[in-house]
Symmetry: C2
Subunit: 317 residues, 2 copies
């Protein structure tokens, strides 16, 4: 396939680029390097089937030119941090909603018709059903990030009906693994390096969350792209388990051999819009034959190992 | 209340302006007159409690200045035509999604915290449950219009969580009544004036749709605004009945005394993204004490009477 990957220098994007190249595909990566890391593409840029375009998704001219000639777009670029939406609401609108619109328009202009979209379990807001299935009751958004991903999903769905696109929407839980650059393992590890004696925990530590290893995430996506002929598919991606923030912090402390005093900021939510319980029903993707091969604990520890071996990542933020 | 109405010169907006002024409120109307009609505000502009701002919602400076000092915003401005989304996808993005974002940001800057939003039953796509309740299974969008209203809903919901806004989201069926300027009664009546001997019907005529009179629509909205203290409310608005396109055309033909030959374009849908069956569950709004006082047939005929007495409206499009 002639593949186009937005956010190619990001955590998931760069892992996808490497996987697609290994599988023998031609890949064009697109990134503005606002959060993407050149080192994540160090191997890819040596590959003859890889091309890198350094540009912004809000630059429609550059985007239209770059998308042209590709068969499938993996649209992973996003403002991926759910926590800071209220500090600058325009960021989610621009980088997620409008950027997704621009990608769809570039595809329409350039003849690409297949799109894979990284959506989020945050789109369910604070669901009433657990594990939460894809057809859960119409949710209420609790974060600007979730709202912007919902807008992106809606656009893709409308393009599937209106312009005969084929859309694959994946609602991720938090993803872990090599090249992980933000999230709770990152935050906790950095805090422990700063001060091994005590650690601040956002909320009461009892928030329940699910996590998925990036390899499992990519395996699910590529299996669906290969197997499905439906015009539109929406899949939850996650593991069939969850852990509390406290549990995860326990694994991290044990692994690094520290026993910091935990200081809780309190409350059921770590920040405005934090969902106290994220646990997705993954029966649909499993019915296609996919299974997660990493459990949460091993993913957390693997991520920690990656951060220990790549401490340069910690200083980039 | 110090009320701010976007789309004040539109069908629903101008009816709302008149109603708010009758109820003794101060009203600022905002319209770019792209589809709004000055004649709809002829009475309002004579009123000492009315002020008109002629500007675009994409002009953030004008909008911020105008919103300042108001308590509640009735955000009715929109590209309201679901049919032509694929001709120019940027229109729904700009006029619905981004315009709603601009309204929210102007409110945040100007200290307004209550917002009423005109959403749509089209947001349910092609639902599987009838009548369709507010918490129907998470829908799939089938039109750019629906996708843009979904994006607007999500933004408002996120502002309720993130910035302590109070949001009222109303998902309308098609609205009928005085100052009606687009939709099937408008189209059929204009076609019959052009050629009384035959009439083209989009689709197979068997599409089932629900309609609501604008007076009932406004009564529901104002009742909720008065009664509800919840931070966020989502309500379907419609009648507890539906009719087919063929039935409605029958009432229209009978009322104007014509028997045109019907020519169907065929298919279950009148256009790309047309939903063959729209029928909303209104138990939630009825549980607040509201009842529709007009049935569909009388609303269709009343609308036709309005168009007959105001044929200038037909030539405006």
């Amino acid at each position: 396939m002639r593949c186009f990957v937005t956010g190619a220098a990001g955590f998931i994007g760069s892992n996808l680029v490497d996987r697609l190249l290994r599988d023998g595909h031609q890949v064009c990566g697109y990134d503005n390097f606002s959060t993407g890391q050149r080192r994540f593409l160090a191997e890819a840029v040596q590959h003859r089937d890889f091309r890198l375009v350094e540009a912004d998704l809000l630059d429609r001219e550059a985007l239209n030119a770059a998308v042209k000639g590709h068969e499938i777009v993996f649209h992973l670029a996003a403002n991926a941090d759910v926590r800071f939406g209220t500090q600058d609401p325009s960021r989610d609108l621009q980088q997620n909603t409008i950027a997704t619109f621009n990608v769809l328009e570039a595809m329409r202009a350039g003849g690409a018709r297949r799109i894979v979209f990284s959506s989020t379990g945050s789109i369910y807001g604070e669901p009433l059903v657990f594990p939460t299935p894809e057809d859960a009751p119409f949710p209420v958004q609790t974060s600007l990030y979730g709202a912007s991903k919902l807008a992106g999903e809606g656009l893709i769905q409308a393009y599937c009906t209106g312009f005969d696109f084929q859309g694959f929407i994946f609602r991720f839980v938090s993803i872990l693994g090599p090249r992980y650059t933000h999230g709770h393992v990152f935050d906790f590890y950095r805090k422990l390096l700063d001060d091994p004696s005590q650690i601040q925990v956002l909320g009461n530590g009892k928030q329940r969350k699910s996590y998925l290893h990036v390899e499992d995430c990519l395996a699910a996506i590529l299996m669906c792209v290969e197997k499905s002929r439906d015009p539109l598919q929406v899949f939850n991606l996650g593991t069939d388990e969850y852990c509390t923030v406290d549990q995860s912090l326990g694994w991290i402390c044990q692994h690094v051999g520290l026993t910091p005093q935990r200081r809780y900021t309190g409350g059921e939510r770590g920040w405005i819009g934090d969902s106290p319980f994220i646990f997705l029903d993954t029966r649909k993707i499993r019915s296609m034959g996919w299974r997660a091969s990493h459990d949460i604990k091993s993913s957390v520890i693997g991520t920690l190992e990656y951060l220990k071996q790549n401490e340069w990542v910690l200083s980039r933020h």
